[in-house]
């Protein structure tokens, strides 16, 4: 019996099969054990049972949970920018945008990206998509342009942390179902794209990077005197919140998760306890520099806790 061939065949119909078995080697070990104990005739049924058992442990729903979690945050962001650009929901902001068309164009661009993310994730989830919340409440953020930008920074920096926190929960072989099409609108132009077969982890990373670009823009525009004159750049220094909720930059609210999901001021990376002393440089790297050089992930419980007040269930 050629075990490699069997697994190769299984991989053709289910690319994730070896991931589900942890590794090809463990699959071979498991099958090898079985093959010693059974007759050739009964082998296929027993092997089939072994695979079914493994597959049943991973129904695919963990990935859907991750994607629905991402979708909730994207819906939040999309609604936030959509409402901010409408006179009915945010008259003070619309007046500011009228006085600063460059800012409005950028916010519209970000809104288009967030809407595209919603459309993309919705399409990728297909029948497994979760229902949208009944609504959102951004009234506290829409009073002044500076309040709006501060909240935008919180959402973008939080979004970056949220995606980063899920990277390890997405199989690197997971793909979007074949012939999945998405229709999106950018700067008023509608287009339809087939995302079937796209690697889900890669798409998540691509969204993650876009959110980081948004965050950097919002942070930098707040540096302008007209928008608060906040002393910051596109990156996060220590755990400075600069007006945003401090929880956005803090460690996980679950104590047992705080090592894996530390505050943005974290100095420990990849097993090195403190990069300011663990790396040799002249002058030595400062805590501010090390914290800026690495963004930190955040767990879903903490993220949901921060986003919760803006969401009507």
């Amino acid at each position: 019996m050629n075990l490699f061939k069997i697994i190769a065949e299984l991989e053709k119909v289910d690319p994730e099969v070896t991931d589900r078995l942890n590794s090809r080697r463990s699959a071979l070990a498991a099958l090898g054990d079985i093959s010693k104990k059974i007759t050739l005739a009964s082998a296929p049924a027993i092997i089939g049972a072994a695979f079914n058992k493994t597959l049943a442990q991973s129904s695919g729903s963990p990935l859907n949970d991750v994607l629905n979690y991402a979708l909730l945050l994207e819906r939040l962001e999309a609604a936030f920018y959509t409402q901010a650009l409408q006179a009915t929901s945010a008259p003070a902001l619309v007046a500011s945008f009228t006085a600063n068309t460059g800012l409005r164009t950028s916010i519209e661009k970000i809104r288009d990206h967030e809407n595209a993310h919603v459309a993309l994730l919705t399409a990728a989830l297909g029948p497994n998509v979760a229902a949208a919340p009944s609504g959102f409440d951004f009234s506290a953020a829409f009073g002044t342009i500076n309040n709006f930008l501060t909240t935008a920074q919180a959402f973008e920096d939080l979004g970056v942390r949220a995606y980063k926190g899920q990277a390890g929960n997405i199989s690197r072989t997971a793909q979007v179902a074949a012939n999945t099409s998405v229709t999106v609108t950018n700067a008023g132009q509608s287009s339809t794209v087939n995302i079937g077969g796209s690697n889900v982890l890669q798409v998540a990373l691509q969204i993650h990077a876009t959110e980081a670009r948004h965050a950097a823009y919002i942070r930098y525009i707040r540096r302008q005197t007209a928008f608060g004159g906040v002393s910051q750049y596109g990156w996060i220094t220590n755990a400075q919140s600069n007006g945003a909720p401090t929880a956005v930059y803090a460690a996980s609210t679950t104590a047992s998760l705080a090592t894996d999901f530390p505050a943005e001021s974290n100095l420990a990376q990849g097993g090195v306890a403190d990069l300011t002393t663990g790396l040799t440089a002249s002058p030595a790297y400062t805590a501010a520099e090390v914290s800026e050089a690495f963004d930190e992930p955040l767990d879903s419980t903490t993220v949901r806790g921060i986003a919760g007040p803006y969401i009507r269930p």
Partner: protein
Amino acid sequence: MATQPPVSAPDEAGFSSQLLQSVNRRSFLRYSGMTAAAVGLVLAGCDDDDNGSSMPNSVNLGTGNVGILNYAYALEQLEAAFYAQVVSNSAFATTFTDAAERTALQAIARHEAIHRDFFKAAINRDAPGNIIADLTPNFSNINFTSRTNVLETARIFEDLGVAAYNGAGRLIDTTTAAGKTYLGLAGKIVSVEARHAAQIRDIISLGTFSNDVVNALGLDRALTPTEVLATAQPFIRETINGSNLPS
């Protein structure tokens, strides 16, 4: 294989080939790649009588997760060397008259140096003997006293770094604890590169943080190592061989 969503056509290739022209072999700068910013600068002239020493060596990134780490290390070496030269240039303050722009570039220089030194330490610890050599950058066609030229080059490097990490994530074998850590680290670094990219772009022209790199689906670029190395190669003296990397 998977049909990827379309990404915007990069303009890097044209820029790079332009830079490739008229390479000045008489003076190029060599960086040690080990120490911070202004320190590791050694001028290494090479003349036509210098048999063999000016021939570029080949650097093989290797296989598996170590190969991916070396790939990231190579790109971080390139970025760190570039910014080190930007901020140590004697005309830095007159090239960048805005103090906030100087502060931003100095900060990015430190971030990239930290990334480089961190990868070096991680590879030496986790895969002793498998680390690639210090690379010799070739910046002979970059005008370090031109604000525009420096910022455009920075934009290319940052956008390229983002696309490289985005494309490499799925190439990391996460069946081991170390592999999971590497994917996590890639995630921690790639968003900082994206922040750099947006910052540089907004310094060039406010509001261009995502122009021509984020597509209609709101996706930043993801490039394969082959695509990334083709853009990076003109800036590196050694020939980078990524043919054994996972794909």
